[in-house]
Symmetry: C2
Amino acid sequence: MAQPIPMRPFTDSLPMALLRARESTMQHFRTLLAKSELTEQQWRVLRALASRQEAYEVTELAERTALLAPSISRIVANLDDRGLIVRTTVAHDQRRARLQLTRSGRALVRRLAPESEAIYNSIEEHFGADRLADLMAELKDLAETVGHKITVEGEVS
Amino acid sequence: MAQPIPMRPFTDSLPMALLRARESTMQHFRTLLAKSELTEQQWRVLRALASRQEAYEVTELAERTALLAPSISRIVANLDDRGLIVRTTVAHDQRRARLQLTRSGRALVRRLAPESEAIYNSIEEHFGADRLADLMAELKDLAETVGHKITVEGEVS
DNA sequence: TATTGTTATACTCTATAACTATA
DNA sequence: TATAGTTATAGAGTATAACAATA
């Protein structure tokens, strides 16, 4: 008989808990996005662009959406083809790109907004708005704490 | 000037908060797994198999690891090729497969366990063990609440 | 006829490196 | 020489459908 491995149970895994929570949540949004032929990542880009007036540059957008630059490049090309965003170059630095929603892109986000908010509201209603706010705060803190300077034997990150 | 879209700010997005928390956490584990040429999903399968004595069947394992059956099939084929798991058929129902770690697979999990636990302990130390336990409980509850019966206008899920 | 699991297909993302253009 | 962004490449997962074998 194999000896038990000294390790916390799989069910107690933090990454799994985060994954399940995310999948459960996203499933509702994905249903919505699929109607407009949008992937989750494309939606992240559109959402980010819609969330502020100024244009984004690629690097900035990558950081903001937690996507890699090559992924952004492809997504941006796709959304550009579909007329949802425009790329313009910056006058004083021709390497940089300015990314912005087109009127059509903005209209799309605006069209999806009510259903997206409805999903959110439903989650808040079922789970509790206060609890959800607390949870979000803890998640942010965890990301910051763990992202910055966790040190493990043999690893310095 | 475009009118603002009635939608919560991108930064307040629950899926983004979950994603960032997960990515920050997983980055540490991925560093560990990469040394053994394991993807995150392969590790989930190994972890699940290591977590109990009885063999898993494919459907069961898919549910447990939050992977789709086709993904499991490929992962299992890969781990089988590497001699980390074995597939045997069930006597009374030849459609079913029984999946188990080999001695070598068990040894691999056992070898990675200490570092994995060290990462966990470090997270607990920095974030707080109690806070982490609370967070995990809330995540489980969110997954359950949202996964089961969230109803949104036009969608019944 | 329903179920378990595999295979096929198309698409997308991840991750890294190489490359182009510009600064 | 360094930086911003794109392109190339390899690998893998997602999702759906079709299929084979078995019940």
